[in-house]
Symmetry: C2
Subunit: 158 residues, 2 copies
């Protein structure tokens, strides 16, 4: 497997490269940011808008929009903190939790599908490789300076 093979491989799998988001949407009718927000809300009880925005690496105005939609869909609820009335916190609704359960179920299915394609040993090896790579990449990234919360808008051509 050399560079050209890799490139070829990417080409052959364009659909999947182009699709990751679609998978989510088709199954669950939430966008990737919405899913991320739900997951963050699950992880951190009563997460603040700022934390949410940071967690997703988007500006607050975007986070507001994402949460707006999720509230409209009744997957999240907003609340204002009593101690500091500037702060808005966000939490999963019953429906939101249910949706996340569905996500997990899908994930489990996928996980199982992959598992079924490999031997026990291959699977373990695979997981370890991924872990190793993920860890390595993360470190590389951290080393290369206190990345300035990367600006997400690409520079337009001309």
């Amino acid at each position: 497997m050399d560079y050209n093979d890799l490139y070829q491989f990417m080409l052959d799998n364009i659909q999947k490269i182009v699709m990751p988001e679609e998978l989510i949407k088709i199954e669950l009718s939430v966008s990737r940011f919405e899913l991320a927000a739900l997951m963050l809300a699950e992880r951190h009880d009563n997460i603040t808008m700022s934390a949410l925005a940071q967690g997703m690496s988007v500006p607050m105005s975007t986070a507001t929009g994402v949460v707006d939609r999720l509230v409209r869909k009744k997957l999240l609820k907003r609340d204002r903190s009593e101690e500091d009335r500037r702060i808005v916190t966000v939490a999963l609704t019953e429906e939101g939790s249910e949706l996340l359960e569905k996500v997990k179920k899908h994930l489990r299915l996928f996980f199982d599908r992959v598992k079924s394609l490999l031997t026990e040993e291959e699977f373990e090896t695979g997981i370890n490789l991924i872990r190793k790579i993920a860890l390595g990449l993360r470190q590389d990234q951290t080393v290369s300076g206190d990345r300035p919360v990367l600006s997400r808008r690409a520079i337009k051509i001309e």
Copy 2:
């Protein structure tokens, strides 16, 4: 590694899940569809709009939009077939090819980065596992009926 670990892992990597598209954009100021179109154009000389749309699994109206933007950015050029004047073909410009070279370069760098994190042997094993999984998943998919060019719009809630 069980389901919960996996979910946890996803959570820890939300940024990357949310970001795949951003990586492309930041580096190259093209969207994922645009990149896919360029790659398809590279692959098939003078590809038709229909083929392009099919290759990306999007309706023609979307493909038109994508190509419009790429033409505006001077990365693609449109031409009308002489034999059948209904057909519009699309080809890379010089600039388009250059951009793809950049993509490949990025890919190579990433490839090398991953390589550097693993031993030669680990790397080979990894590639083989991926191949095996990709193949397996593809087969699963094909088995499950002549999938009807999946509709890409999610059903709205309520």
